[in-house]
Symmetry: C2
């Protein structure tokens, strides 16, 4: 089967061996910069396929001497941001800065299909608005007010290419190397996830009527549903949007974000706590290596070294227990706003300290107290403190990047954790509910009953993890300061546009 390809992109035209003065080449794109000389006009054209542009050279002769009014008018419309179709011959460039250029001859070789008025274009460089910096570069805050146009700025374009490349690497690892099956978990669910009350409600009408016949929410994590897929397909993953009605306006939180979540079944050593950590470390080393070799890394050398070290160091990333983490943090006092306390969650400042200052490396923190983690994590054999078989992966500059655990596969233990978490009533009233009865399918079961069903009927040991896709982009895209710059069209509390 022969694939008929779309015309070459600028990225393809810039590849060695592409120049061919014999053939007419046509590109559709935008003017990124323009330089006007007496007999020639040089326009850098971009089409989004690469961070580089292609220089188009218009040989129009000396103005006023043989240059038609139409040509003068057309050249006048060639402004920053204008949409153009340019046809010419791709030749080796004689000027510095590029290998090839597109030589356009005559009026017909250029068409300004969408003008861009410098007086009103919000991205116009050297914009004099109050929100612009004095260098003429627009501030992140200013650009967020123009999300639909912000995409056209080199920084966000670069981040979009980075996202695509990282997604490709992660999926290549999971499906190509590890036999995972990609599945679509539902966005609309009947559960309020971890019961944090942070989920968005959906389907409730003005008069309180429920479209789905019961309360429905936007998912805050695909994990519980992914476990049902795991029991059917063995090794599964999803890359899906998740939602939290997140009221904190930090640079690490979004109301809508993408999560990579994986679940697989098995026994030690592939699916116990260390097996999960090994899997995550291998997957991320593979992904960072792909990223570093993709040409998309723009890190300054020192930060680049941090990613290089993470990807290629001979030593495994450190693994410590929660208790060890608390001890390290307590030694480091009085650095912290919140003193690290045994039995409490780690704060963002603690997480960053461990990865960035203490270990200078990604670090796995394992075996958190049962009380600070969700109900579905497998309870460890009792020691001094009741803990669960879980880990958080902390990385420099970002903090928590991945969270995972062995899942509680034992029906009795799980049920008791769910009662403790207030998700299901305590026995004996509900113990007799048989969700499997075909005779009363519509009786209002507890919304978590199906999750217990997974353990009632043929439970197997399994575990998995979730990784915030935007947080990974924050880590790899070293220059990105706020998570709102890690995604094309971020949503957060108070967001106004589109």
């Amino acid at each position: 089967m022969v694939v008929r390809r779309l015309p070459k992109t600028i990225k393809q035209l810039l590849e060695p061996g592409s120049s061919s003065a014999a053939a007419l080449t046509s590109i559709t794109g935008h003017v990124r910069s323009i330089r006007r000389q007496k007999r020639c006009t040089f326009a850098l054209i971009e089409d989004g396929s690469t961070s580089k542009g292609l220089q188009a050279v218009f040989k129009h002769g000396v103005r006023g001497e043989g240059t038609s009014t139409a040509m003068v008018e057309k050249l006048r419309q060639l402004t920053f941001g204008a949409g153009v179709i340019v046809s010419g011959r791709l030749v080796e460039s004689t000027g510095p800065g590029q290998d090839v250029e597109l030589v356009v001859e005559g009026l017909d070789g250029v068409e300004v299909v969408g003008r861009c008025d410098p007086d009103t274009y919000p991205l116009q460089p050297h914009h004099s608005g109050a929100s612009s910096s004095s260098s003429g570069k627009h501030s992140a805050e200013y650009l967020r007010e123009h999300l639909h146009l912000r995409l056209r700025t080199p920084g966000i374009q670069h981040t979009m290419r980075l996202r695509a490349k990282v997604k490709e690497a992660l999926e290549g690892y999971l499906t190509g190397e590890q036999e995972f099956v990609y599945v679509h978990t539902p966005v609309i669910t009947g559960i309020d996830a971890e019961g944090g009350g942070e989920s968005f409600r959906v389907g409730k009408g003005e008069e309180g009527e429920e479209f789905f016949g019961r309360p429905a929410h936007l998912t805050v994590s695909s994990q519980l549903h992914l476990e049902a897929f795991q029991a059917a397909l063995g090794r599964v993953y999803t890359l899906a949007p998740c939602f939290r009605a997140e009221r904190s306006m930090t640079g690490r939180h979004l109301a809508e974000f993408w999560m990579l979540e994986c679940e697989w079944g098995g026994e030690s050593p592939s699916c116990d706590l260390h097996g999960l950590c090994t899997f995550v470390e291998d997957m991320l080393r593979y992904t960072i290596a792909r990223f570093l070799h993709s040409g998309l890394s723009v890190s300054p050398p020192d930060a680049d070294n941090e990613l290089h070290r993470a990807a290629f160091s001979q030593k495994p990333w450190p693994r410590i227990t929660y208790i060890e983490a608390i001890h390290i943090l307590q030694q480091a006092q009085p650095l912290f706003t919140y003193p690290p306390t045994l039995g409490h969650s780690l704060q963002s400042e603690h997480e960053k300290y461990l990865a960035e200052v203490h270990f200078k490396s990604p670090v796995f923190v394992m075996d958190y107290p049962r009380g600070v983690k969700p109900f579905y994590m497998r309870v460890n054999p009792r020691t001094d403190m009741e803990t669960v078989a879980c880990f958080d992966l902390l990385v420099p500059r970002v903090g928590e990047l991945v969270g995972g655990s062995v899942r509680e596969e034992r029906y009795g233990v799980l049920r008791s954790s769910m009662v403790d978490a207030g998700l299901i009533p305590s026995p004996p009233e509900t113990e007799i509910i048989d969700s499997s009865s075909p005779h009363s399918p519509k009786k209002p079961l507890n919304p978590y009953e199906w999750y217990l069903d997974l353990r009632r009927h043929g439970s197997v040991p399994h575990g998995g993890f979730g990784m915030g896709f935007e947080r990974l982009i924050l880590w790899l895209g070293v220059g990105i300061a706020n998570i709102r710059e890690s995604v094309g069209m971020p949503r957060w509390k108070g967001w106004m546009g589109m």
Copy 2:
């Protein structure tokens, strides 16, 4: 970089050359069937990696003669659906039906990690419930009441593998062959899409307060946002969930569904109406061919021939105009419930007739009347009837699979279409609003103003299409009768569970 792989799946163990009596092999999975003999018990184990199972042979000796009580109890727990970890040696099978089998010796080689009580397991074969068919196979309606367990049935497992394979083929085509960039379009949007009032509201609290500071909706299509990405990145696609508060309970509609949407820029012939059709046809032929060669096709021969013809026929798929379609349909009368009428939309019965009966092939219907299509489609040069440069791809058994168009890139024409559609007020009152002003970013702009901005500033000719992922699965998975069986956890009006 050496990749440490998870243990082999059953799919990998069944590949030729995998048997190795020397090494102990361990698998985690579920019992699919069991056959008990005097000295041996045969259990077919599945782990979800393939539709095939691996036969485990337990040599336990004659019951009562040297078989321990513990072994008897363990064998008793080996029931349909039980979760097991089985260790043994993979040897060539002497019995019919499989190349290799796993020989388990002794009590330690099998662990029933999750029992499955035949009396309560909803998937138990030969279930006597009223909803089961007399063959013992459960009805689709019955299984929908147990979505979390339904995933474990061979039919849905197969469909899940099909989805993953089709997604891989489509993305391989777009990124590998055609240089498209994968992007994440937002799920939560400020627009009510095509104004059909079928979108779900989100973010509105009990007291009417808006979390996002303005009305927000779940997206019904990523297209408008994807056009903003197109202007920045050239060739873009997304595979993303979309939502419609769909009140019709047909076998073709879901409240939550996945859409593949593509946009690219350019001129004729790659991005005019025929260019779009060519692209879609090539992409689908490529995908069907991959699917047919994947071993996942279970079509009966005649239906299989239909897909084979679609993929490999020398002749391009037919392309007709809307007017020609109406003429064909009017010739076919009195077949239809709704008489085909010039100027009206095609009904589902019309679409199926064209593809299934008349052409016996996928068929593109182009140039619909402006009045029956959304505002963003490019208006054709005026002929007898005002039409837009769009197409619907109709396929046998499914009807509309893909819809696409050249987008209206001309500011004035687009604005006028949006006024006609009631999406923005007519001039002159709003014409003076300058959405680009940095000084009043929070003023309540019309929610579609940003879309007009894409044309105000550097518009380029572009086009694209959207394809319902579940509809494609319906077409390829020939035996699937209802769209609710094309997705793991379907959501529809009145849906009750999980």
